[in-house]
């Protein structure tokens, strides 16, 4: 139905994040929160123009940014894997043409970063960063190597489960998300405060699934990681993108 011309234009607001989705900012088991998590309650910001819009970035992406195994002098060491999935919103609508950025440790669990100095080998052919845009269906795919676990000193004998960092924009400032993808059945989950900071019932959504059908025979294993960003309020509004 067409909107009467005199009607105040309405915005497509985004639904609140349900309780039990995200970790509390103040989570003492993860020590770095101690000096960084705010003490004060946040002030509510209703969704207005700046919040329902957002950067629709198409760069910076260079050819090969979706394949982290291609090193400067040869192929990266480690178990070759395909990490793929679909980005959708919580209404089930795929999010096309959105920037997905990842970064990770190498197969030995070492980051190619000057601050990471634990004695695991660096791989000269693995820098660990990748970028890709989702396609028209919201699908993305990276080729990379399976990252290793590593110790991190948060508590006695603390080890991070193998993970890949993900950064997503969606189409609105409200949808911005940074998360971590984990691998199935990791025995390190139980002792990891970052994984366990997320409420039970939600943390399992961060675990990828092994997908035999998506493996590439004689080449690479495959893990599926679907990502769900905030959807819109269930209020009637004109849908220009159906």
């Amino acid at each position: 139905m067409a909107q009467p011309a005199e009607r105040t234009p309405t915005l497509p607001p985004y639904a609140p994040v349900p309780e039990g989705t995200h970790a509390p900012l103040d989570f003492p088991g993860y020590r770095s929160t101690g000096l960084r998590a705010p003490v004060r309650q946040p002030v509510i910001l209703p969704h207005r123009l700046t919040e329902v819009t957002g950067p629709l970035l198409t760069g910076p992406i260079r050819p090969g940014d979706d394949d982290l195994t291609l090193g400067e002098h040869g192929e990266a060491q480690g178990q070759r894997i395909i990490v793929f999935g679909r980005v959708a919103d919580s209404d089930g609508r795929p999010v096309p043409d959105t920037l997905v950025e990842i970064w990770q440790a190498n197969a030995a669990g070492r980051y190619a970063h000057r601050w990471d100095d634990w004695p695991a080998p660096l791989d000269p052919n693995f820098t660990g960063g990748g970028r890709v845009l989702t396609d028209a269906h919201g699908d993305y795919s990276f080729t990379t190597i399976k990252p290793g676990a590593y110790p991190w000193g948060n508590h006695h004998n603390a080890w991070r489960p193998a993970h890949i960092h993900f950064s997503l924009f969606g189409r609105a400032f409200t949808q911005r998300l940074v998360t971590q993808m984990y691998f199935p059945d990791d025995p390190l989950f139980a002792q990891d405060p970052i994984y366990n900071s997320v409420p039970e019932g939600a943390r399992e959504r961060m675990i990828s699934t092994f997908d035999l059908d998506a493996t590439r025979p004689e080449w690479a294993l495959a893990f599926r990681f679907d990502i769900v960003l905030r959807g819109r309020e269930q209020t009637p509004f004109e849908e220009p993108h159906a």
Binding site: T10, G34, L35, P46, L56, H113, G130
Partner: protein
């Protein structure tokens, strides 16, 4: 998890200490290209609860152009090519080894308030003062923090701004940048404790 039907939100996780491997890019801080007339620098230092600089944070900014417009299909006024050539609206800057960040941009325009709810009865004269939305990411932050930058030259508009009005008066100052020069504004971010920046729940 099927994506053929509505799904449950993916939880947020920290960027950790090594975001530099994946996120910053060379022209990230350039909301407008070098040499843009009227360009200003907005930046500051990120501090933790002990008053120490946070050297592994990343700041992102998102804002309207000087006419208060967005090049985005969900702006109900319609997407529009930016008033300033090369204007991206978005900036991204990692903090340096002294906790400092900055972006080069042009000052945003004021925005009309279109309320999100259809039952809104339309306060047509309400305007949002010019502002920049900010996301803060860092090790130790399990979710991004959101805040806003307002500008000191807009006292009247700031006084009428619906968000600023909802913030206790003694804390409003944390959302207003400080003019250091005609083309330079400082916006420090205090994550915790004394002078804590007002963070926003969206």
């Amino acid at each position: 998890m099927s994506t053929d039907r509505p799904g449950q939100l993916t939880p947020s996780q920290t960027v950790g200490p090594y975001l530099a491997l994946g996120l910053p890019w060379p022209d990230g801080p350039d909301v407008v290209p070098e040499g843009t007339p009227g360009a200003v620098t907005i930046g500051g230092t990120v501090y933790d609860g002990a008053g120490e600089p946070v050297v592994d944070a990343m700041i992102e900014t998102w804002q309207a152009d000087p006419d208060g417009r967005f090049d985005h299909p969900d702006d109900p006024r319609g997407a529009r090519t930016p008033a300033v050539e090369g204007f991206r609206g978005f900036g991204r800057a990692a903090t340096d080894d002294r906790g400092r960040w900055s972006v080069r941009t042009v000052l945003p325009g004021a925005l009309p308030v279109f309320d999100a709810l259809p039952v809104f009865d339309g306060a047509a004269d309400v305007r949002e003062a010019p502002h920049i939305d900010v996301s803060v990411f860092a090790r130790g932050l399990l979710d991004r923090l959101v805040t806003r930058i307002y500008l000191p030259g807009n006292a009247e508009a700031n006084a009428a701004d619906p968000l600023l009005s909802s913030v206790p008066a003694e804390r409003r100052g944390t959302l207003v940048a400080v003019a250091e020069a005609p083309d330079r504004y400082r916006f420090d971010i205090r994550l915790r404790g004394d002078g804590e920046t007002v963070f926003l729940q969206i």
